[in-house]
């Protein structure tokens, strides 16, 4: 079953996910949503906490992608079955070791070619250690 997985380090704190989610029921924007981005006082972190099965009442982009995942600009949210989610996660782990751009955006969000895309996970163990 597909679920929403989170890459915390990619979250920039924009709250697009939370804000759109809050509006799905009645067109009213607030902080109250099934996904909440929390902060820890004194620390520069943004942490999305999801309490949802990913099946929006009314996804804003009209397809089957959950709203929060569709609006997330960095790729911090993943909507996949577990094996694909693992693959994506490893793709990011590998990409960020290869190119510093992927500290701030997921490789599947970057539209230009970049060197050594590791989509087939070759050499992945070298880069991220043994699974």
């Amino acid at each position: 079953m597909k679920r929403i997985y989170v890459i915390e380090d990619l979250c920039n704190g924009c709250r697009l996910c939370q804000t759109f989610c809050s509006s799905l029921k009645d067109g009213v924007f607030s902080e109250e949503a099934r996904i909440k981005v929390i902060k820890i006082p004194g620390e520069e972190r943004d942490i999305p906490i999801v309490d949802c099965n990913g099946r929006c009442l009314n996804p804003v982009f009209g397809d089957k992608t959950p709203t929060c995942v569709a609006v997330c600009p960095t790729g911090a949210l993943i909507w996949e079955e577990q094996p694909q989610a693992i693959e994506k996660r490893l793709q990011w782990e590998s990409a960020r070791k290869t190119h510093s751009l992927f500290k701030i955006v997921a490789p599947w969000k970057w539209p230009f070619p970049w060197s050594q895309v590791d989509s087939d996970n070759e050499n992945i163990e070298e880069k991220v250690g043994k699974r």
Binding site: V28, F29, G42, E44, V71, L101, V105, P111
Partner: protein, 649 residues
């Protein structure tokens, strides 16, 4: 809490002298006429702060304005801050972050602060309530410490803050208001005015809800908007670059084409290796620890947090290395040490100093030193050379500027005032307009920039007509443009050193950016066709507020704002004589590239075209009675009717 309707805009009035606060509802028709944020701030300022008001007196009012799109995912948390500035005209600037949405959820759209507190205070606003609280314990704290202290005190991780640092408390020229430690706004002196009121900070927390009038319409417009800005779908190669690497990529590109101010703009070309050492790629590789964004931004990380990884300044933390710092703390002072740039700009944020004031004024002082106008006796022994041999001395100089200490006291006045004191013709190389320092963008190679900097009522501020560099003119046909009311020959208009069409182009950019800043929204989000096609914002605005407006009327709100700014300006005695470029740009050619100086003929040609298109008097720049009446600004027309100004041509 019940959901607030989005068409009603409310203002919280605060008088710090009498410690009174109360709430007012703004006239409903203002939403269609001025939209919100910067537009409504300008309207309030013109109405409530008459000519001749002392900028540091009790009658000056500091406005913080959100607007009907704030708190919605397209407002980007933008907010306008405005007052009468210390240099006599409008001071207005905008910042992003999260304060605006929080204020709206707390039930207010604007805050208007008049009077002066006897002792330092801060304002705490929470869900419809406002309290003036003692801030003696916060006074003199740097912005990072103020942020931490208030968060501890209010014990709520979601509270949003705006505060000033020691620079604004000490009324240092051009000090800014800060928030989120690294977001600044209001460089034309809004921080100074806040300091003069002894208002250290504003804290806000709101848990309210905002209802849009037409949700399906809003979502449809959002999809249109988003398509033009998403990395995958935007038809603009700058979208991915800008939204990740950011503007410091320009340093390296600009040195090749004569756009990089070097050694106080004595040259416009810097060593390419130096430019590479301080560029975005190095920054991202070695310094960036995390991407950041404002509320609801569709881009991954135009902001980033950094930490210096090694060396003498190891562990120094800050954020937001953007287009200005590589110039003002890089090429302008001939420094290719990125550690030093990040320490200097991080310290400016901590003291609440404006990086442009500090950078340009130090560069001016370095040129004085080079020419023997200033010596070590003047600089407290500091070897103030281009190339920055004495890094620690420079770092300490920033602190001295914030506290007006020793040599810092002179530089704290800004280069315009300082050059008047020092004399020796040093104002010839002070790079400022209307007493306000430049922002790092070349003028002699980009005539629209020269014109835009010259005419801005708040002093140099490229966000009023962003972007300074040509957008892709091929995305829309001439017919499409003209159906949107834009009759411009874009190819001609985008030719850097050709004065033709610059007035018209600047007029379009100024009006359309005024619209975005009044919704509010972020002016950086104008990639793809959004630079010229404002219909996505128009539909977002209509669906969010339920205000039906013709597209042309939507844009007219921007023209109204442009005229309100000019009206305030001329009412204070400013006019054509003040719309100029820095003396260096008008008297010196660009070496190596052979770009000529901006001659009087060229400049006057552009200025005439701009005034003419605007319906402003060619001799004085006073908006014509016809124009003001056409815009429905009858009261403004009346108050400008008897203004006389000597012919200035």
């Amino acid at each position: 809490m019940s959901a607030r309707e989005n068409s009603v805009q409310k203002i919280l009035r605060v008088d710090l002298s009498s410690r009174n606060t109360y709430t007012e509802v703004l006239p409903k028709e203002w939403t269609a006429k001025y939209l919100g944020s910067r537009g409504i701030n300008a309207r309030l300022l013109f109405n409530e702060v008459p000519a001749g008001t002392d900028p540091f007196g009790t009658d000056n009012i500091l406005y913080l304005g959100t607007g009907p799109m704030d708190g919605l995912p397209t407002g980007n948390g933008r907010m306008s801050v405005a007052c009468k500035g210390p240099r006599g005209s409008v001071a207005e600037g905008s910042f992003g972050g999260f304060f605006g949405p929080e204020l709206r959820r707390a039930g207010f759209d604007y805050i208007a602060i008049r009077g002066k507190a006897e002792k330092p205070v801060y304002l705490f606003i929470h869900d419809g309530e406002a309290e003036i609280r003692d801030a003696s314990h916060l006074w003199d704290l740097t912005t990072d410490k103020t942020d931490a202290a208030l968060r501890r005190e209010l014990a709520d991780a979601n509270v949003q803050l705006r505060y000033i640092g020691p620079a604004a408390e000490n009324l240092v020229h051009s000090s800014v208001i800060m928030g989120n430690i690294n977001n600044s706004g209001g460089r034309a002196g809004c921080g100074e005015v806040m300091g003069s009121k002894k208002l250290k900070a504003i804290a806000v927390r709101g848990t309210g809800r905002i209802r849009v009038a037409d949700y399906p319409g809003f979502i449809e417009a959002y999809q249109m908007f988003r398509k033009r800005l998403d990395l995958a779908t935007s038809r603009d190669p700058w979208t991915p670059v800008w939204s990740t690497y950011g503007a410091p990529v320009l340093a390296r590109l600009f040195t090749d084409i004569g756009n990089l101010m070097t050694r106080n703009a004595q040259e416009m070309r810097w060593d390419e290796e130096k430019a590479t050492r301080i560029g975005s790629e190095v920054y991202l590789d070695k310094y960036v620890t995390k991407g950041k964004a404002c509320f609801g931004c569709p881009w991954p990380a135009c902001q980033k947090l950094y930490q210096i990884p090694s060396g003498k300044y190891q562990g120094f933390k800050g954020g937001n290395y953007w287009a200005g710092q590589p110039v003002v703390f890089g090429s302008l002072i001939d420094n290719d040490d990125l550690d030093l740039i990040l320490v200097l700009s991080g310290l400016c944020n901590q003291y609440g100093l404006d990086v442009f004031h500090v950078g340009y004024t130090i560069a001016w002082a370095m040129e004085c030193y080079e020419k023997g106008i200033l010596t070590r006796e003047d600089t407290d022994g500091l070897e103030l050379t281009f190339g920055c041999q004495d890094k620690d001395g420079l770092i300490d100089l920033v602190r001295k500027i914030a506290y007006k200490e020793g040599f810092g006291e002179l530089l704290a006045k800004g280069c315009s005032e300082a050059s008047k004191i020092i004399g020796h013709d040093s104002e010839r190389f002070c790079l400022s307009v209307k007493g306000q320092e430049l922002e790092g963008i070349a003028e002699r190679n980009l005539y629209m920039v020269a014109l835009g900097i010259a005419v801005s009522e708040v002093g140099p501020d490229h966000t009023r007509w962003y972007p300074p560099y040509p957008c892709n003119p091929n995305l829309m046909t001439k017919e499409e443009l003209s159906s949107l009311g834009i009759d411009l020959d874009l190819r001609l208009a985008f030719q850097g050193r050709n004065p033709e069409e610059k007035g018209k182009l600047l007029r379009w950019f100024t009006i359309s950016r005024a619209v975005i800043e009044s919704l509010p929204g972020c002016v950086f989000l104008v990639r793809d066709t959004l630079g010229f096609d404002k219909r996505p914002w128009w539909q977002l605005f209509q669906s969010a507020t339920g205000t039906a407006l013709e597209y042309s009327e939507f844009l007219r709100a921007g023209e109204r704002l442009m005229n309100l700014d000019r009206a305030f300006h001329v009412r204070e005695g400013f006019g054509r004589k003040d719309d100029r470029v820095p003396i260096r740009m008008a008297t010196e050619d660009v070496p190596f590239f052979n770009y000529p100086r901006i001659t009087d003929d060229v400049f006057n040609h552009m200025l005439d075209e701009y005034y003419q298109e605007n319906g402003w008097d060619l001799k004085t720049s006073i908006p014509s009675q016809e124009k003001l009446l056409e815009l429905g600004l009858d009261d403004v027309a009346k108050s400008l009717k008897d203004i006389s100004m000597e012919s200035e041509r």
